[in-house]
């Protein structure tokens, strides 16, 4: 195959769009881990729920944007409910127990979805205004992919502002660094945890909702994504938003180009990238010393 | 000198937790480090035990530079510390808590011989349990012990690693006055009978004054004074920053 610069640029854009999904997903995982010390093994499940909520909302109201907002809100609420009723009981126990609870949830929910929606994939359409492509010179720019990249940038910016400027964001940041201390400040930490968890779940749902038009919406679509989100945060360094962003973008490019050049290796390349980065930087790109 | 630090510093970002401290201790002595909260006592200990590596300066032990040796390497050389917040093996028996520490001198990787077949280690374990008064508790699960007993177990674990020098980090923390008196007797006994070299961090000055050969006072990371207990009590600077304030309410 001849690699013209148009193909290369096209592949970069595809990679950016895929990377955007990874970034949204992994930043949610990273926030939850940083704040709660919980490795959310059901993260991909919430991603899948995001896609199904999107499908349901659109079939009810017919509007992509309303569906998007509804999907994120509904799935965040499900996440909040899970945190308040079940997960909360396990804080302060060995790290393994919250992890296993999430793992159990990740087995439980897809089966419910199978029961409700069947095994056959659901189709979510692109919104009318984002169908097709625009041309710059003889370069084809698919609108929806461009939208994803813009969306990711906006979400990252919003997260940055939220963490730096709002009081609850600052509490979340402080709690990520030192949970005990925030407890001593007389803040109702319990509510901060719930908000943080819902924020992380909301990001997973958003990733699933915007991915829905591009991928097949099936009950097990989240399984792989959990593992891939793990890879992103291992590459970037757990608990670091910048790390999640950089890790996601790197992984998007790797997958995009390997799929083009050696399709057999595209899945393997994700993990090889991780292994390579671990050899070079054992704590990930933005990992801090002393934080395991 | 058995152990010596020269101009040792530990900075955390802008905070100079330990700043240019020179310290030395001779074989067989008991030396205490006192100072108000946040004076850098525990940080200093961690520099000696190897948990932290110094920002500047040097730690020498038996004439060798050990500044960059890791914690387990220093433990193998004979520098052992106890923890301010009790750090034991909660689900294991009292016997096993101490035996495991004693085992560290003999075998780590042998995967076939039975751990309890090393009679020298077992005997040594019982000797130590006798020393710290826990021999009749040997079969209990460590987590069931009372707070005071856990503090003794903590010391027992440290003794089992056959330390040349023992670093005791507030061994009486959280003890009642009666327990504190008993613990003081034990420390004295370790020093006198086992001829151990001991560095002791204490908050409770009364504990320190009775049993130390010398006392070093830390304040805001710096060495303020170093002398015999009597002279330290009489030292005006020390009185101003530390003793003068009277007994501070205990923070833990």
């Amino acid at each position: 195959m001849e690699l013209s610069w148009e193909i290369i640029l096209m592949q970069v854009i595809m990679g950016l769009a895929l990377g955007a999904i990874y970034v949204l997903l992994a930043s949610g995982l990273s926030i939850i881990f940083g704040l709660l010390d919980v490795l959310n093994f059901a993260h991909g499940t919430f991603y899948m729920l995001g896609a199904y909520a999107m499908f349901t909302a659109i079939s009810l109201c017919g509007n992509f944007w309303v569906g998007l907002v509804a999907a994120v809100v509904i799935v965040s609420l499900i996440g909040g409910l899970f945190e308040i009723t079940l997960l909360k009981r396990l804080y302060g126990t060995d790290q393994i127990y919250p992890l296993l609870l999430c793992f159990g949830l990740g087995i439980f929910i897809p089966d419910i979805i199978k029961m409700a929606f069947g095994l056959i994939g659901k189709v979510v359409d692109y919104p009318a205004m984002l169908q097709g492509a625009t041309f710059v010179g003889n370069l084809i720019l698919p609108k929806y992919r461009i939208f994803l990249v813009v969306l990711m940038a906006l979400v990252l910016l919003a997260l940055y502002v939220f963490m730096k400027k709002t009081s609850i964001g600052m509490i979340i940041r402080a709690a990520t660094r030192d949970r005990l201390m925030v407890n001593c400040l007389g803040i109702n930490v319990s509510r901060v945890w719930t908000v943080g968890f819902m924020l992380g779940i909301g990001l997973a749902a958003l990733a699933g909702a915007v991915a829905a038009p591009m991928v097949q919406t099936i009950p097990n679509m989240g399984d792989e994504m959990t593992v891939e989100a793990f890879v992103v945060v291992v590459i970037g360094g757990l608990g670091s938003l910048g790390g999640a962003a950089l890790g996601g973008l790197i992984l998007g490019q790797v997958v995009s180009f390997v799929s083009l050049l050696a399709p057999d290796w595209s899945n393997v390349s994700i993990f090889l990238t991780m292994a390579l980065i671990l050899v070079l930087r054992p704590r990930g790109l933005f990992g801090e010393e002393g934080r395991d | 000198m058995l152990l010596q630090t020269k101009g040792i510093c530990k900075h955390f970002g802008g905070l100079k937790a330990v700043d240019q401290v020179d310290f030395s201790i001779e074989q067989g002595k008991l030396k205490s480090i006192i100072g108000p909260n946040g004076a850098g006592k525990t940080t200093f200990f961690n520099l000696v035990s190897g948990l932290y590596k110094p920002t500047h300066g040097q730690v020498t032990f038996q004439g060798k530079d050990v500044s960059h040796a890791s914690m387990n390497e220093r433990s193998q050389l004979g520098i052992t510390k106890t923890y301010q917040i009790t750090s034991i093996f909660p689900r294991l028996s009292v016997f096993e808590n101490v035996r495991l520490a004693a085992q560290s001198r003999v075998s780590m990787f042998n995967s076939w011989r039975k751990a309890y077949s090393y009679s020298a280690i077992n005997n040594r374990t019982m000797e130590i349990l006798e020393h710290v008064g826990l021999a009749d508790q040997q079969g209990r699960t460590a987590s069931e012990l009372s707070h005071g007993e856990k503090r003794y177990l903590e010391i027992g674990i440290a003794l089992a690693t056959e330390p040349t020098i023992l670093l005791l980090d507030e061994p009486t923390a959280g003890m009642s006055p009666a327990e504190t008196v008993e613990a003081t007797h034990l420390i004295r006994k370790l020093s006198n009978e086992l001829k151990l070299t001991i560095i002791l961090i204490e908050h409770d000055i009364s504990v320190v004054m009775g049993i130390s050969d010398e006392v070093m006072v830390l304040h805001e990371g710096k060495k303020l004074a170093e002398d015999t207990p009597e002279k330290i009590s009489a030292n005006e600077t020390v009185q101003n920053v530390y003793l003068g304030k009277g007994a501070e309410p205990c923070s833990r």
């Binding site: 393994i96 793992f103 087995i107 994700i270 395991d292 | 751990a115």
Partner: protein, 333 residues
């Protein structure tokens, strides 16, 4: 306090705790039950229980005894199964060599995961081990399809053993006892390892990693060796699994395998020796029976597992041991 009234003679020591004695007896009871198992439940199910019980015990070397959360055990089991099957398929070697190759395969993956992750704790180890195992899954699925047959299983011919005497492994009962004897020996070997100075050091790491390091233990190397043992025994289980299934199949490598062994282990009790064995037996027996009544096995298992974590985190055997301990306590003091 007795320190004051210093006794002349040293009190005699009783090193074995009641838990250790109880576990030792439980091990022999379970192995004895194993002798009659194929007459109580179906022979294939009994064989499957033995293979996965060995796998769960090997897994628990890390989770329960060292305190390492591994989610990559599908990689060890799968490497064992494929290594064992491939030397038979391509090399035409016998069953014993196949099992040795399986152990080597499991060990090799353990070395790989160990090198990348041994210094990482908790969640980090879980993620890295899971990712490496997934990499093996995808490697076997497509780039190495030529050797692994990808989604089609690598099928084995009917096998038999000729040394020390002839065993026809296509006979279900002979296969069961062949597997049972190997599993029993492996269980005894693991008991022995856990009773050694090394095994005790593992428990120290699980209980208090900082303290055990301060005692002078080289925890990185100890953990690495623990990962290797876990890989070795998991690889052996993988080799037996390939013989039992008559094939090495790609689903063994899928990450769900890692999840199932975690569930089986926690169901029985991670902080015990025989818990994983018991958990595996219960899990597989239930799966066999529940799937007769419902297609929604995953939903049930997910819900029951969450309930287990919330209500009985010590698992079946672990809870029993705990209750016995509570009853003993008043008399002990």
């Amino acid at each position: 306090m007795s320190a004051k009234q210093k006794t002349q003679e040293t009190t005699s020591y009783k090193p074995y705790s009641w838990q250790a004695i109880l576990e030792f007896r439980a091990m022999w009871v379970v192995l004895a039950l194993g002798l009659v198992l194929p007459f109580v439940i179906s022979k294939p199910l009994a064989t499957e229980i033995m293979v996965y019980a060995l796998f769960a015990l090997a897994f628990n070397l890390l989770l329960g005894h060292t305190g390492i959360i591994s989610f990559g055990h599908a990689g060890y089991l799968g490497a064992g199964a494929y290594a064992g099957a491939m030397v038979v398929y391509y090399g035409g070697v016998g069953v014993w060599v196949s099992l040795l190759a399986a152990m080597a395969g499991g060990t090799l993956v353990a070395v790989l995961i160990g090198l990348l992750a041994v210094k990482r704790k908790g969640a980090y180890f879980a993620m890295i081990s899971l990712a490496i195992a997934q990499m093996l899954y995808f490697l076997a699925l497509s780039p190495f399809k030529r050797w692994t047959d990808g989604e089609d299983s690598l099928k084995l011919p009917p096998l038999s053993v000729d040394f020390p005497f002839h065993i026809d492994l296509s006979d279900q009962l002979s296969l069961y006892y062949f597997v049972f004897v190997i599993v029993a020996l492996a269980v005894l070997a693991q008991w022995r390892i856990l009773s050694s100075p090394f095994g005790h050091a593992l428990k120290g790491i699980r209980e208090n990693e900082d303290r055990i390091r301060a005692c002078g233990f080289d925890i990185t190397r100890i953990k690495f060796l623990s990962i290797i043992y876990s890989g070795l025994f998991s690889g052996l289980a993988g080799g037996l699994l390939a013989i039992y299934l008559g094939a090495a199949s790609i689903t063994i490598l899928f990450w769900m395998t890692s999840g199932i062994v975690v569930m089986q282990t926690v169901l029985g009790g991670t902080h015990t020796f025989m818990g994983p064995f018991i958990g595996t037996a219960v899990f597989l027996y239930l799966r066999n029976n529940i799937s007769n009544y419902t297609d929604r096995w995953e939903m049930w298992v997910g819900a029951m597992f969450m309930a287990l974590i919330l209500l009985f985190p010590e698992g079946i055997w672990g809870t029993i041991v705990q209750k016995i301990g509570e009853r003993r306590r008043p008399s002990a003091s």
